[in-house]
């Protein structure tokens, strides 16, 4: 490696001829170039944004009727845990496409199906048949057998799924995680504590 001299920008002392017109022409060209980029940018951004927003769908778009099995597997007067596979899923979901819910069979043809998620922060509530209560392990929300709020931080009762019976099968309208923003109907039957019908 012998001594070498590299070009250094600031050594070029020769100044370009000052030509007002040429300068403004260059600036104009640059401005057109920038505008061109902006147009292409917007054109490319539209599909990108659409792609990004694709998971957001209106309430109901994800939902469909799912079978929980024969109604005979749910004894009248009891509340049982049921599991189903979410109707919308991907091959690599693993066990996470499984969903649990609480099925309460009030009478022969009368069902109530509650989401597993506490209306407070979505933790899984557990059913205690002895005391007829659902309790949440996270912050202690409690609900009565009919899903109405009993005590604790939840603002409302448990989320419910719509149900129907088809050929002796219990079906629910499911497909998305129930939250305060997509399951608006309130389950609360009576507001007074202790005054709610608890058949559990």
């Amino acid at each position: 490696m012998s001594e070498e001299v590299l070009l250094e920008g600031h050594d070029e002392e020769e100044t370009a001829p000052v030509d007002e017109l040429a300068v403004s022409r260059r600036w104009l060209l640059l401005k057109i170039g920038a505008f061109f980029n902006a147009v292409v940018g917007v054109a490319v951004a539209v599909p990108v944004v659409k792609y990004l927003l694709s998971p957001a769908k209106p309430d109901g778009a994800y939902k469909s009727w799912v079978s929980l099995g024969s109604i005979d597997s749910f004894p009248v007067g009891e509340t049982r845990l049921a599991k189903f596979t979410n109707p919308v899923g991907r091959a690599w979901d693993g066990e996470t496409d499984r969903v649990a819910c609480w099925v309460r069979r009030i009478a022969q043809e009368q069902f109530q199906v509650f989401a597993i998620n506490c209306a407070h922060l979505g933790c899984p509530v557990r059913w205690f048949p002895q005391s007829g209560l659902f309790m949440c392990p996270c912050h202690g929300g409690a609900y009565y057998a009919d899903g109405s709020r009993a005590s604790g931080p939840p603002e409302r009762g448990l989320f419910t799924y719509d149900t129907k019976i088809v050929d002796g099968d219990l079906q629910i309208d499911a497909g998305q995680m129930p939250t305060l923003s997509n399951t608006a109907q309130l389950v609360q039957i009576q507001n007074t504590p202790g005054g709610s019908p608890c058949a559990g």
Binding site: I116, G132, C138, A150
Partner: protein
Amino acid sequence: MRRLKVLYEWFDRRLQLGEPIKEMALHPVPNKTASWWYVFGSAAFVLLMLQIVTGILLALVYVPSAGQAWNSLNVLNHQLTLGWFLRAMHGWGSNFMVAVVLIHMAQVFLFGAYKFPRELTWVLGVFLLLMTLGMAFTGQVLRFDQDAYWGLGIGASIASRVPFVGNWAVHMMLGGPIIAGATLSRFFAFHVFVIPGMLLAFACLHVWMVLKLGINEWPMPGRIVRRATYAAEYHKLTKKDGRAFVPGAVWKDAFFSAAILAAVAVCAAVLGPYGPGGRPDPTIIQTAPKPDFFFLWLYAVLSYLPPSLETPFLLIAPALGIAGLVALPFCAGEGEKSWHRRPVAILMLTSIALAWSVLTHLGTFTPWSPKMTAWSGGSPVPVRYTHDASPLQRQGAIVFQSKQCRNCHSIAGVGGQRGPALDLVASRMTEDQLIRQVLQGGGNMPAYGKNLSPSEVTALVSFLETLHPANEPPAADASRNAAAVLVTPAHQ
């Protein structure tokens, strides 16, 4: 040696980095800033490097798929040589990084280092803190176990409270209608590409500004920051009472960073990696989800807020907090730096630290959560409570146990803490009050009215009536006694 110099010159002629680096290293800093108080920023940067390196090493094995992530973590833990150690380094590195960033921020606040002309350095620092917390949360999600799954559920429930666009926010967060494969993929992208990229760029900019604007001088009471004169004063200080940044100030940073790295390694080796906990199977509901250490305070806040205040708090408080932090250097950009003259700053810092520690402490043992198995898994009502009891009272003890009262109430120190301990309840409540509490509930207790037969209530309350100290009678309704006294003579 000569050959090395030639090699260096060959490169430097092309890179042209030697001069600016030398200038940066040798710039004078005030003598007193070569202090052990000034080492946290560099330590945070070193921890960031550690996280990047260990993170890349983990990514060599980790599978970001909802179906396989948990398995790949277990392979790392149990089958790959020292895979557990790298997981532990990354996990503990994260804890240390959050802690060091918080300490760094508290120190900067206390030393008034956010004041003119370092406002933007502070603002970038606020974003760096947010991104560090973002990394901690997304990292917890990548440890795709039960806690991660239900933690996402908590996140989605919070997002759903945003007015009007709640449902949209939930779908965007989860990448679909439920917590599943799409959710993990997007959290992986955020944890591995988006946030680290921004974090690194912001951190470099942050360091650049620290070097260019000079390290904050040691705050002296009475030395007032003024926009007009500060730059000249700082310049004079570094001339009169300064030293070169390298090696004068930097050797302490080097020592401290090495010590922190060693501490991370020791914690990792001794305490091991975090989880993964139970399988992320949403149909396994026997679980009590809990966030990682740095989010426990929030978990605690959410249990103590009245329901009606929760949504406003969740949506407004973070925005206000961040706005306050960003606004700080613009509201208090001049004036005293010394904590001797800033009592409000000290008060704020100590009260935040105190509130944070109390809430975190509560979050570690969650007294507000019912103990789901206290009625079945724990010990039954101890014999000494029922030894001299009547059959009715013993029946009541059984009702007490079997109706899950103990999930929320402890007796003999065993049981939940959601409601008060009931060992001495009869000395503070009369029979009528007990009946009322059991039937109607209230104050965070469910009403048992529809779930106890009249005979069960009688038995239960007669058992509760025995819960008083031996030398003290149970509470009684004084007006009833008075009525009895008044009524009795009239009858005769």
